[in-house]
Symmetry: D3
Subunit: 305 residues, 6 copies
């Protein structure tokens, strides 16, 4: 029978909801926090809005001919039960939830939430897989040591990851960095760790497919995590975020980056920093929905027609 | 354990979701259509938006001390699978769905959707209970014979209900009628059927508690259905609707009308015409959420502290 | 044949458009300026937006049973061709246009535009009728002598009118005045002229029907002009205006004031200060549309069913 | 005399309004429906909003030096009187209206409305001209057989056109197709008919002028119809539409496609799927206004300075 | 010389800015946090938005004829330098800042920020004045013991104040309480402390002047603090807030409550929970601006004309 | 100590405020007018909104490694005290203010306001430096002779500048011109003066770095003024402006143009036509903030790491 898109409880992509990751190859999971945010909040409502706008999705990918639901068992497993009053306790809850999800062999596709969450997720990921490669797409390096005196927040996750040995630093790439900065060379620390830094100026006016060829070489066959901050995209594509920076990536380049991950051993992905109160056109959430679908469509064992 | 309001799949009032009404005393159910609308559409997204904003609800009613979840078993049973291309087929689907819901002994609390839906709902209701009393809160009488040549639509449901004998016409009241009209006496037909018509001018500047005393007498002990068009409220309270009319009821009066139904034999309620694309403040949905909660809190067998 | 409300070129109330007032009993006319505005502009788009939202109007008044189009020949005669770079020249153009409109015996119903326009309109009106009574509904007295060194603007029209002898000062009432002010008694000048000043505090919580009984006595049988600044209404009803002041009139009171003019010798009306860029809910224009319709419905020679 | 842009009844491009197409070389005409829409409605207000925003237009094209009003007699001939309750009857009304418009030798430039309308328009067009070439710009192929059990709707028009023999299939091109899909090869049917399909991936990062050289060859000298769905553009340019798909065409590419039609035997054009309730920036309508002006500027017999 | 309202750095009420409270009778001060918020954030931008919209203020109060700047030396003393990552540290910073402000003999008029801030402010206040009377205007009692396991937050400040002995409990009144609740009698604890609880139902449809007569008696001549949560007002007046509850106070009643404090020994006032990202009409900030001005106009030693 | 970005009085870039330009190398200064605007107003609130959104700025430029505050003494010197009722008097006030600013040796970075302001600014600039080179980035040439009968306005400044001999016409470039026009060759006059005109079609799909190489040659070592109308950017980047034209420059190209001015003898810059009431996403102001920061970062004597 036909089912109209306007009907139904809003799960991600209208997938079935289940409590745990048992039996799943991949799962959409929400982490609704913004307490790691020093400027504009609102990302706590990211998962809710992404689920609602996901009614626009259909089941195949016309650009890549991927057949995600023929290839993998996928569900929406709800949200981590965050503690909005204690960011560190929230990090603990995230870590523990992801441990369980990963233990079941499931690949988590995370709907953020602010970027703080990538740190506890990567703790759980590295616990299972060891230090992983990282494809980090963002306007900001998120490698500050402290912000306003605090070690945990959405500007520090990848500093913490390096300190904890969660990343295989030669297999880390940061794409889209730009904007005004707190120091003259704000990307120096990244480079010193061995990260490849791709400033946005290197991306202007061109396809990122060649870049992604290089990234695939860099990543090799080891486990890779993708962390996509929606603010990597230009604010014209993603107004609904906390710290917009102009002259950013296009959504085409965002799609190219994700499609360029085909063939990698992806062990998890996140899409963070969608802030619905600032998403006046609604298209930031629509964009997040599509980028998450593209992530699903490059997971290992995907069938393409 | 504490569960943050920002988490979770958005069911109405964060209630459990189940497919059928089995075992329920009352159920929230959505009917996401606006194809009965001649002017501004958008009500098809009413149920989705109401569910999303319902995260603001808690479990008790501080104004009436009702304890709805201690009194009744309630769930969200999803949406009628409407046919967005065939309004008459949608009406058939609604009627059949409500037959089943009512057969199980459950009281449906409907989230519309445009006002067309009250007709097929009342067909199912009258099939079970015989002609019912009706408390119809609206800016408009919705008793047109035809609109643009068509018998079925959001301006005609109560004409159709009378023709089908679904209403006990002496036990019908229409509250809040106003605005520019298609004829000099646009409420004449209503009065000719024996309806009580309460134009909005009778409501200005005062509590509707005395009116509701009279309405309870009018309704007596027989089965009563409540149909609440959000446009009964003034546009300052409910901008998100299809045909706003100024100088309307306040949300206080809306609450009074519903609380004034305590003690009646309510067999069903609907809240219709919330149009999210026009709800720029978001408060039309918030208002609908609270009115639906107030409806739940006056159902038979409610416990009050 | 049925004509759907969504179709057609947007004239006011879907009335026919004609170039002049010839043959008309009443005419809607726009004056699209905001160059008399010292704070938030945007009222230049008032006429355009009012016309667009007027598609919601039908032809009878359900509250008063007026039949305006059975009683009077009415049309939309377009806009005064204002000079957006020269406010004084615009005033001249308004005055000349209204002379012609009035010469034809037509009653102008003006869609503003900022409140500056009432001055040249009243010049034309008084030229024909002599000093007139004035029902001025506003949050502000608009009787400043100079603003930022300038004599002509939206804070000064009624000072200028008095200086020019256009008003019968004993037959002037100002309703709804409030807000922070430039002097300790900002309404002193009004009272000194013999105006009746009804501060908003006198209007709170009650029907204005008794007030309007008094106003009708005050006005007597002489010619009366009504000037309605939408900011008289509380910002909850009319967010789209230049200088919102809280704790204002309700739209119910606005309707009562206009309906209370029934029986007066109205020779012209204006509805000013609708600023569409600030009308985020769209309801300021919807309210203006309905208030203009109510004005039409109390013109002399109206038939009521 | 100078006429300020802020004045006047909003016809398209401030052109004169006339009832019929008599004496016109080209005419703007509205078809205000969205009843063919399965997801987000609102396109019924497309013509009204396009007319309102068209005040921004001037009379020459600075990019192409076209002088449309020196070349052609053009007017706004209002809207088809659609039946919002019966999509098939609306299609009949469209077909009949366009028959008359075309009979007068006038080229219709249509302001939609949802994409359903291209089917009845093309019925009238093919009746006069025989099977025509088609330049179809869209994110979606709109060649579904049935949607939710229904043959007529905004996802099916070009399937119906082919079945009715209205198109010269070798002279059909579809540009901009993308997004998630209902089948693994959702564009297969198009290709099987002989259509040229230009997926959006072929358009990324480059001028479409070379593509349009090929399209002009493909179209030859026979009659050509252009159908431009605003959702072909990326949502950053056109947020106000029903089914946004990311990574779309730029408005520059949209302009290039239309300018690339210069020299073709265009017999009609439409611009569809502008949905004002979702056009929060207002720029979707502004874009539509400019694209319609560009269409006018490539009609046969245009003079270029 | 004239100074146009559109010019200038946005301080509150265009007052001079100074670093400390030295020499001031009263000072506007911001506390830009929302980290005490469990649901919708955004109040961290309250002070900034209130300052911006305060350009609409003039210098006298036309309703009460107060002359605040002739009576008192007032300035904007900026914001407490909050710690967005540590709510308890922020509380310490607030407390210390207010100690200094109060030490200088200045009355602080606080622009919030979420309601958490009233607790550390009252700590500083009680340190100076001993237990104070409290006029608490709010939709919510804010007397929870813990929220999501946490003692400090915007739902708990007055519980903490009582525990710390900061309040003279017989001189506490809570006005406007309503909405769904976490327990059957959610206001029981308040009553048990000796607070007067005025549920919103007692306020509907009437002037609160008589209530305020009683409140003044209750407060006597001792020191009084006023804490005004903007959500006390109905969402039609104040959409821009975190937890809107329908059927609330009108802005008229809000003004009456504040004006009713004239003659009391006010030692401080706050206006909290304005959340600009949700203030789509902008009028929540405009309302806050005016309520803060009314607070200023009832401070001790005010001159009235 | 850490200072959270959410705190503080909003000066531009959180710089110190001072009354005069004394001791400054560069100063941000606002000119809040829109009275030179014939279509959509609102630019009078540009400076206020730009200041507010500038909280997002940090102190270094990650793209160019400029260290503006290590290189230059910079402050916010407030707004010119414009006369909103007399555009010519406003021009006089601007001219006199800039004379003083320039006399102190300070480089003004102007936050508009509509484009009219560039004329009196350039009068003051040329008085000091003689005829200057001009880099004019805009969708429109702004070289009309009269608009609606008026010589002074936002469509005429550069005509006036040429007439007054303020420009070294061989060292003038206009970049980004496009849109519908008032004459067949609307850029003819510009070319006749010796200006280089770069229509937007020459900019599509490519980096403007090569163009800027040529512009630097054209400008040579003489004094150069940059005037950047935000409408040069495509409306997807800058919806908040008065006369949007589609198919415009990207914000990347806007950044390239400014960065391409490095090494020139810049004596002043302005960023005009930001209209906050139309900036529904807020990103027009965010973009303006960043472009102004980029301008600061190419001033003479800048240090780059
Ligand atoms: Mn990040
Ligand atoms: Mn980021
Ligand atoms: Mn209704
Ligand atoms: Mn109804
Ligand atoms: Mn006024
Ligand atoms: Mn006013
Ligand atoms: Mn289409
Ligand atoms: Mn499409
Ligand atoms: Mn509170
Ligand atoms: Mn509260
Ligand atoms: Mn310009
Ligand atoms: Mn321009």
């Amino acid at each position: 029978e036909y089912i109209a898109r306007v009907t139904g409880i809003p799960t991600m992509a209208k997938l079935p909801y289940q409590d745990t990751a048992d039996g799943l190859d991949a799962a959409f999971i929400g982490v609704p926090i913004d307490t790691g945010t020093a400027y504009r909040p609102g990302a706590r409502f990211g998962p809710r809005q992404i689920r609602m706008e996901s009614a626009v999705l259909r089941s195949y990918n016309s650009g890549t001919r991927a057949a995600p639901y023929e290839s993998l068992v996928v569900a929406d497993i709800g949200d981590v039960n965050v503690n909005v009053y204690d960011l560190k306790d929230t990090c603990r809850r995230i870590r523990e939830t992801y441990r369980k999800v990963l233990a079941s062999g499931c690949i988590p596709l995370t709907m953020g939430g602010d970027h703080t969450i990538s740190y506890p997720i990567l703790q759980a990921v590295a616990e299972k897989y060891g230090p992983v490669g990282l494809i980090h797409v963002d306007a900001h390096p998120d490698t500050s040591d402290v912000v306003l005196g605090e070690k945990i927040g959405n500007a520090t996750p990848f500093r913490r990851c390096v300190e904890d040995g969660l990343l295989d630093c030669k297999r880390v790439v940061q794409i889209g960095l730009r904007g005004s900065a707190y120091s003259a060379d704000s990307f120096e620390w990244s480079r010193a760790q061995g990260f490849r830094v791709v400033q946005v100026e290197e991306c202007w006016f061109k396809s990122l497919a060649p870049l992604m060829d290089e990234v695939r070489s860099q990543m090799g066959s080891g486990p890779v995590y993708m962390s996509f901050d929606i603010d990597a995209l230009d604010p014209s594509f993603a107004p609904g975020t906390g710290v917009p920076e102009i002259a950013g990536l296009t959504s085409i380049q965002g799609v190219e980056i994700i499609r360029g991950c085909r063939g990698l051993s992806l062990v998890g992905c996140d899409l963070v920093e969608v802030s619905p109160p600032y998403d006046t056109t609604g298209n930031t959430a629509v964009t997040a929905v599509n980028l998450l679908f593209e992530m699903l469509c490059v997971l290992p064992n995907m069938k393409y027609y």
